[in-house]
């Protein structure tokens, strides 16, 4: 069953489009499918909104990544363009825009250009199901978690295509590596999300968020004592691998494979991969926020005066604040740890993460059965 859009804007469009169309001459009235037009307008609004929501955090994320890594490494990072280098990204994009997108000799041109188009599809679709605020959600799918897993599986396709079509042996090794990696890590990623689904009793992200309303100890990271925290850490580890981010970036592995699947890409085609990487980072952080950190709920602490102030702040601010905190954790991971070898990464998944996640899942059942969830 497809859920209906519940946002006030959607309702407004649905109510008013027939009225506006009613001003048209009478003789064409019977031929105008006003309900369909209203839906179409709603779809277009959603698409634009998702594009904006998807693209808008990327400059922030890239700027943040540069500054965080610079400060870890005792550097200042970009400082030239604009105050503290905030316009650096504009210059980078301008550079990438003016570069010729060039396919190497012997490349499978069709697949080569298809890959950067595919790569952006999955992260944008993922954004559709995320509740940024109480009414700020494109579709509250009842199967949101399986949908996210499916879309992540789709994201790997572009990596495989790009690596295969590049006619570069490094890219080929890289795409094979990333295929193996993502297929393995998807399992533990799914396992952890399954745990949350089990605890919350629903696979809809809206309902998962609703199950965490109340004080900050009602978030799933605290609500299931210890278990939630462990699950959150496991989520961070397996999603880092899902994201193909350092330290688990064996597919990119600059030191070994000179950039891996995007070695041969340049200009905007490369920018697409770059963009997708950061939208994926943002989406995954959003999922972590929804599943473990209470989504858009304010961290109320039980004292009424403070709670009123905290609740006064809009939910999206809390949501983005938590999301960027998760992003910051990812960045600390990236700039601290070294990369495991490909077989060690597989061993980590199959010998450590998967058994531990299964255990967590079993403990989740035990917690539910014995009612060890905080009220």
């Amino acid at each position: 069953m497809l859920p209906s859009v519940t946002h006030p804007i959607g309702d407004f469009v649905r109510e008013n489009v027939p009225n506006v169309l009613g001003y048209l001459p009478d003789f064409i009235q019977p031929y105008i499918p006003s309900a369909e037009i209203a839906t179409l307008i709603n779809i277009i609004i959603c698409m634009v909104a998702i594009a904006v929501v998807g693209i808008a955090p990327v400059p922030v994320l890239i700027y943040m990544e540069r500054k965080v890594c610079a400060h870890i490494q005792c550097r200042l990072g970009p400082m030239r363009l604009g105050p503290h280098g905030v316009l650096q990204l504009v210059a980078d994009i301008a550079k990438l825009l003016f570069k010729e997108v060039y396919a190497p000799k012997g490349a499978d041109k069709f697949l080569f250009y298809l890959a950067p188009i595919f790569v952006l599809t999955a992260p944008f679709l993922n954004l559709c199901v995320i509740p940024f605020d109480k009414n700020l959600q494109v579709a509250d799918l009842s199967v949101a978690i399986p949908f996210i897993l499916a879309m992540n599986g789709f994201g790997i396709l572009s990596t495989l295509l790009g690596g295969w079509a590049s006619n570069n042996k490094y890219s080929l090794i890289s795409s094979l590596r990333s295929g193996a990696q993502i297929i393995s890590y998807e399992i533990s990623f799914a396992m952890i999300l399954l745990l949350v689904v089990m605890l919350a009793g629903s696979a809809s992200l809206g309902e998962i968020t609703a199950s965490q309303s109340g004080h900050f100890w009602d978030w799933w990271i605290f609500k299931a004592p210890v278990l939630g925290l462990l699950a959150f850490i496991m989520f961070l580890v397996s999603s880092t691998a899902e994201l193909n981010r350092a330290p688990f970036d064996i597919a990119e592995a600059e030191q070994e494979l000179t950039g891996g699947f995007h070695t041969e890409y340049n200009g905007m085609a490369f920018a697409m991969f770059y963009l997708a990487e950061y939208i994926n980072l943002f989406t995954t952080s959003c999922i972590a926020t929804v599943c473990f950190l209470g989504g858009y709920h304010a961290p109320t602490i039980g004292i009424l005066a403070i709670d009123n102030i905290l609740n006064f702040v809009p939910g999206i601010v809390w949501f983005l604040g938590k999301t960027f905190f998760v992003v910051w954790i990812y960045m600390m991971f990236r700039w601290t740890f070294v990369r495991p070898r490909v077989d060690q990464l597989m061993a980590l998944e199959w010998k450590f993460l998967l058994p531990v996640n299964l255990l967590l899942l079993i403990f989740g059942v035990v917690f539910l059965a014995f009612g060890w969830i905080l009220p």
Partner: protein, 380 residues
């Protein structure tokens, strides 16, 4: 894969449909070949069957050029060999020249030499630490190592006038005396270094991912290490306790108290540990010397034109990479008949194939980082 891509040094691949081996050309433009080194790697999947290093991309004919230069000018050339330990190369050349000319070195100059050489060893090992971490994928480690190295180079700049190509030592002492600020600066640096090194130790040494990547990887047996002519940390990690500073002491090393760390597994992790401990040993050496620098001349009196008598002279030093030997053949003039350099990286790199055989492609990067080759020294 067309056949014409086969390169000298490779066997013909067996004609077998199931045997899917292929070649990868690593370098000369590659992020982790540490310079213009080209490795042709024969792979079966990700498993390495054979690695053949191709040298000569920055061959400058230094040994031939030296025949046109006089001895003092050749010291400048030695800067350009192992640019990470330029000052130790200067020392190596000067020792050979002093041996030939029979010049003594004032005590003050000996102390200056030892302090600068050990500082340069720390700088070189910091670059190793940085590149090792960087090649494992830890970009932060890369920056940390270079940060402290810059501080050492600041001291070099103050003393010698140049950060990298120092050209400082001369037969019979050094080019200039040390400035007054040298001793307090070195002391401050040592204090800072000890804190920084303990941080870096915490960051990488026990890191489980780094250990997994390096323990048991690229094992070089004692016999192979000797057979390939490895020296320095690569040799000592394989269980051979050979350090020129101890076994054939030059300068004032015989009067100093320091240990030569030896490890016995011969894998990448041991090569990493050995360099880390050598940094601590170097700090120990500098600490012994820095308060005892005697007054007096920094250079012995000599004739304006430096000449060597007829004959051939050889002197070896222990640079950060290993045994750096200079062999000078003189016919009595002020320029050499022939100079040959025994560069440590060449011997160490020769063992690459033995180390890398049967390992993964990712391990090749680790192994290459722990050999710590400097290509201008190999190509000369």
């Amino acid at each position: 894969m067309s056949k014409n891509i086969l390169l000298p040094g490779f066997r013909e691949p067996p004609v077998d449909e199931d045997f899917e081996e292929f070649y990868i050309n690593m370098g000369p433009q590659h992020p982790s070949t540490h310079g213009a080194l080209r490795l042709v790697v024969r792979l079966d999947g990700e498993k390495i069957i054979e690695v053949v290093p191709h040298l000569g991309y920055i061959h400058r004919g230094m040994e031939k050029q030296a025949e046109k230069l006089n001895y003092i000018q050749y010291i400048m050339m030695s800067d350009r060999q192992d640019y990470l330990t330029a000052i130790q190369n200067n020392l190596g050349v000067c020792l050979a020249l002093e041996k030939g000319a029979g010049i003594g070195v004032p005590e003050r100059a000996e102390y200056i030499r030892v302090i600068l050489a050990e500082l340069s060893r720390i700088a070189s090992h910091l670059v190793f630490y940085a590149c090792f971490g960087g090649d494992l994928g830890g970009q932060t480690v890369l920056l940390y190592g270079f940060k402290e190295r810059e501080m050492i180079h600041d001291i070099f700049e103050e003393v010698t006038g140049s950060r990298l190509t120092t050209n400082f030592f001369r037969p019979g002492g050094s080019n200039k005396d040390i400035p007054d600020t040298f001793v307090p600066r070195v002391k401050a640096l040592l204090k800072h270094l000890e804190g920084a090194l303990s941080d870096y130790d915490r960051l990488l040494t026990k890191n489980i991912a780094a250990m997994d990547r390096s323990v048991g990887v690229g094992v070089l047996s004692k016999e192979d290490a000797i057979a390939y002519g490895c020296s320095g940390p690569v040799l000592r990690a394989s269980g051979v306790s050979y350090d020129v500073r101890k076994n054939d002491p030059y300068s004032i090393y015989s009067s100093l108290d320091f240990n030569v760390p030896v490890f016995y597994n011969g894998d990448c992790y041991d090569r990493y540990l050995i360099r880390f401990q050598e940094m601590y040993e170097s700090i120990k050496i500098i600490k012994q010397c820095i308060d005892k620098i005697p007054n007096g001349p920094y250079r012995s009196k000599e004739k304006p034109i430096f000449k060597l008598p007829n004959g051939s002279f050889y002197a070896a030093t222990e640079t950060a990479k290993g045994l750096y030997g200079t062999y000078v053949v003189s016919t009595g003039g002020n320029s050499p008949y022939r100079i040959h350099t025994r560069s440590p990286s060449f011997g160490n790199l020769a063992a690459l194939n033995t180390m890398a055989k049967g390992q993964r492609l990712s391990d090749l990067v680790t192994i290459l980082a722990t050999i710590d080759p400097v290509i201008p020294e190999i190509d000369r």
